[in-house]
Symmetry: C2
Subunit: 433 residues, 2 copies
C-alpha cells in the first residue's frame, strides 16, 4: 500500500487528497485514474450494494460495450448535439466511433431487436460499465473524472402510467442504495439536460465540501429508509413512498424557489452544500420514436415505448462517501463500504508471543469471513496508528507485548469512542458479532 | 431472453452461432458486442473462477483505466512499434491517447511510483478490464473481437530466478483455472510476439473447431490438475509441477518440430485443432530498463526489476468453452460456468397444481442458492425443450400434470443420460446435493 505522508498539491478537495494519500487511486492522465487495491475494494463494495438493490427492484443486468458507432447516435440526433464532451474516435477503416458517455441509444437498439409485445413489459435493464466524458477541465479526482464507472439503467413501459411506476421503483431502490452506503440522500427536482424529458430527480447528499448549494426541509434527514420488504410490484405502495419523499421542499440551486422555501418553517429551513450522487429521468418516447422502438399494444396497434434512465456513479460515490465522512486524521468509512472491517496492528513484529497472538486473531477473523488488514511492518506505533486513521477502517485492533502480559488487546472504533483494553476473546466476539 | 430459431448467416463458427442463437451476445459494431443477461452470467462465472485462483496464488487485484497516454508508450518505444491494431485517439485538447490493448507500460509506471526496495518483492498485480485491439477483420464473434475482456497480470521480481518462481506460480494457477472452467488446457512453448522476452507459453485447449493445428503427447490429457492445497510459496513444489507439465512434447504449429514429435511413441502422437485460452511471458528487464523501474537490492545497489505478464481472455473463454462443449442441439455448459444450474420447465402454465409445484420447487432450490431458470411461457413442450437444449443448462427439470398425478417430475442431465421420472423430493435432493 503506497501511503503518502504529505497532501499532494494538485488535490483541491479533501476526498481527492485522502484517496491519493491512502493509496486508493493513482492518476494516469488528466481525469483518468487507476484504482489501486485499497480503492478497488471500496469500489467493489459500492457496486455490490448497487447490484443487490437493483436486483431487488427487478432490474436485469447486462453489459454493453464502451465503444459505440456514431451512426447509432445519428438515429437519435444526439451525435451532432452532444458537443465536445463526447470522445470521438476513428478506427483503422476510418469508421466514426465514440467512447460511450451514456447508453440510451444502444439500449434502445437492444430493446427494439428483441422485444415486440406489451406482454414482455415492463423491463428494466442496467449495466455497470466505464464511460468517458471529455471534461474540458477535469478535477476533484474521481469526483469529476473523464473515465468513470457508471451504473446506468433503462426502463421500458407501454405507457406513461407504467413508466411512472418504473420511475418510482428506482426512486425507492436509490433511497435504499444510498442508505446502505451510509449516506443520507435526498431526491430533489432537477433539470433534465441533454438526456431530455420532463421528469427528473437528482439525489443529493449534504457535505460541507459539496459542489453546489441546496435548499431543503430538514425533516428529510429524519425520514426512515424504505424497508427491504417493500413490494416492488405494488404501484400504490411505491407511490406512497415517493410521495412522502417528495412532499417537503427540496431543490438544487438551479431549481431553487425563494418564495416556496420561505414557506418552510424557519427552524426547518436547511441550506447547505450538496453533492449529486444519482440522477434519474423519465423522458417518454424521445428515443423510442426517433429510433423506432415499438411494441404491439393490447389493442394490436404498435406504439413507441415509454422510457426512463437511472444513473449512479460508483467511482464518484467513493469520493462522495469520503466527503461526507472524514476528520482531520483521515477517512471514516461506513462499515458497508470499508475496504477492510478490521485493521490489525502488531506493535512488536518479531516478538514471538505478539506474532502468535496476531496470527491467531487474523486466522479466527478471516475464517469468519471478516476482512482484516494486518500491519506487521517495522514502522513505529505512531506511524501505524496514523496510517490506520488515514485509511479509515471501522475497527482498529492493537496487539502488543505489554497488553498481552496483562491479557488484553486494544479495540477502537474509527468513528469515535475511546480505545478499550479488552481480552482477545471479547474483542473477537465483538468483531464477529 | 431473445432466442433465435435460425442460425445467423454471418456466424462462421459454432460458438458464435450458438451465442447469438441463445441470446448471450449481440453485435453492436464490427467486433464489438453487448453481453445480454444470459451471456453476462457466464462471463461473471468465468471471471469469478479466475479471481479465486489468482488470489490463491498470491496475486493482488487493482483496476487500470481503459484509456492511456501515448507518452507512456513512447517510454517503452512501443507507441510507434505497435501498428494499426492500437486504437489511437485524440482528446478535445488534441492530446494523443489510446485505448489500451495491454498494460505493461501502465503497470510498470504504477510499480515504479510506489515500490523502492527488494523487500517489497515479489509482487504480482492483476486486473480484469476491457481492452481494444483494432483487428483488421474481426470475426468469430467474441473469439476474436475488437473490444474484449482480459485478465492481465504482471509479476515483479528482484532477479531472473525469482521471476521464474513467479512464472511457475502462474503456470500452476492457470492449470487450476482452466480445469475449474471444465477445460483440459495444455501449456505449449510459444513465440513472444510484440510483448517481447525469452520465455513464453500458450495454454491450448483441444477442440475440433480450433483455430490452428497443435501437436502433443496424448498423456497430457490424463495429467492430474494441481491441487488447491499447492503451496504457492514453495519454489521447489511449483517447479516440480511445471516440470511435469512441460516434460512431454507439446507445440503449436509455429513451434512444431517434426523430428522431436517423431520421437513420441506413435500411439501417443496427438495432432489436433487447438484454441489459445491463455498466454504467459517472462520478459526480464525489457520494460523496467526502458521505463526505469528500479528497486534497491540487498547490496544497496539499484537494479531493474524482472517482469512477466500473464493473460487470459474471459470473453474469448466463453466462446472457447462452447467450442469444446456442444452438440447439434446446442451448448453443453460445464457446471461451474453455466448461467443457471437448473432449467425448470412448466409444461402447463395456468394449471393450478402444476404452477404450485413449480413455484414450490423454484423457491426450495433458490433458497439453497441454486440458480434456476424458470420457463412458464406458453410455448409448446417441444419448443421449450429445444430452448433448454440450446442454452445448455446442466440440469433440466420438467413438471407437468401427468407426471404430478403419478407423483413424479422428469430430471435430465444436459451432458448425457436419459430423462428419469423421479419424485419431487428425490429431484430436489439430487440438485441440492
Amino acid at each position: 500500500m503506497p501511503i503518502l505522508r504529505e497532501a499532494p498539491k494538485e488535490a483541491e478537495i479533501v476526498s481527492h487528497r485522502l484517496m491519493l494519500r491512502a493509496g486508493m487511486i493513482r492518476q494516469e492522465a488528466a481525469g483518468i485514474y487507476a484504482w489501486l487495491p485499497l480503492g478497488l475494494r471500496v469500489l467493489n463494495n459500492i457496486t455490490r450494494i448497487i447490484r443487490e438493490e437493483q436486483e431487488r427492484a427487478g432490474s436485469v443486468e447486462l453489459l454493453m460495450p464502451t465503444i459505440q458507432l456514431a451512426d447509432l447516435w445519428r438515429e437519435s440526433g444526439r451525435y451532432d448535439a452532444y458537443g465536445k464532451e463526447m470522445l470521438r474516435i476513428r478506427d483503422r477503416h476510418d469508421r466514426e466511433m465514440l467512447y460511450g458517455p451514456t447508453n440510451e441509444e444502444m439500449v434502445t437498439e437492444i430493446f427494439r431487436s428483441s422485444v415486440r409485445s406489451y406482454k414482455d413489459l415492463p423491463k428494466n435493464l442496467y449495466h455497470i460499465q466505464w464511460k468517458f466524458r471529455d471534461e474540458v477541465r477535469p478535477r476533484f479526482g474521481v469526483m469529476r473524472s473523464r473515465e468513470f464507472l457508471m451504473k446506468d439503467g433503462y426502463s421500458f413501459d407501454l405507457d406513461a402510467a407504467g413508466a411512472r411506476v418504473s420511475y418510482n421503483r428506482m426512486v425507492v431502490a436509490y433511497l435504499r442504495t444510498f442508505a446502505r452506503l451510509g449516506l443520507k440522500a435526498i431526491p430533489m427536482a432537477a433539470d433534465t439536460g441533454p438526456i431530455g424529458g420532463d421528469l427528473s430527480h437528482e439525489f443529493i447528499i449534504l457535505a460541507k465540501t459539496g459542489e453546489s448549494e441546496v435548499f431543503c426541509h430538514s425533516d428529510y434527514l429524519e425520514f426512515a429508509t424504505p424497508e427491504a420488504t417493500v413490494n416492488f410490484d405494488d404501484a400504490a405502495e411505491l407511490q406512497g413512498l415517493v410521495d412522502r419523499w417528495t412532499s417537503l421542499y427540496a431543490a438544487t440551486e438551479e431549481k431553487h424557489d425563494e418564495a416556496a422555501f420561505a414557506a418552510v418553517p424557519e427552524d426547518k429551513r436547511l441550506s447547505a452544500r450538496g453533492i449529486e450522487v444519482g440522477h434519474i429521468f423519465y423522458f417518454g418516447t424521445k428515443y423510442s420514436e426517433s429510433m423506432k422502438a415499438y411494441v404491439t399494444g393490447p389493442d394490436g396497434k404498435d406504439v413507441p415505448v415509454h422510457m426512463g434512465s437511472y444513473g449512479i456513479g460508483p467511482s464518484r460515490l467513493a469520493a462522495a462517501i469520503i466527503e461526507a465522512g472524514h476528520d482531520d486524521a483521515g477517512i471514516i468509512w461506513p462499515d458497508a463500504v470499508a475496504p477492510f472491517k478490521v485493521g490489525l496492528v502488531n506493535l512488536k513484529p518479531g516478538d514471538q508471543a505478539t506474532d502468535a497472538a496476531c496470527d491467531d486473531i487474523y486466522a479466527k477473523l478471516t475464517s469468519q469471513g471478516i476482512d482484516v488488514l494486518y500491519d506487521d511492518t517495522d514502522d513505529r506505533a505512531g506511524a501505524k496508528f496514523a496510517t490506520m486513521d488515514l485509511i479509515g477502517l471501522p475497527w482498529r485492533l492493537v496487539v502488543g507485548p505489554k497488553g498481552l502480559a496483562a491479557g488484553t488487546v486494544e479495540l477502537k472504533r474509527r468513528d469515535g469512542g475511546a480505545a478499550e483494553a479488552v481480552s482477545i476473546d471479547s474483542a473477537l466476539a465483538r468483531l464477529i458479532g
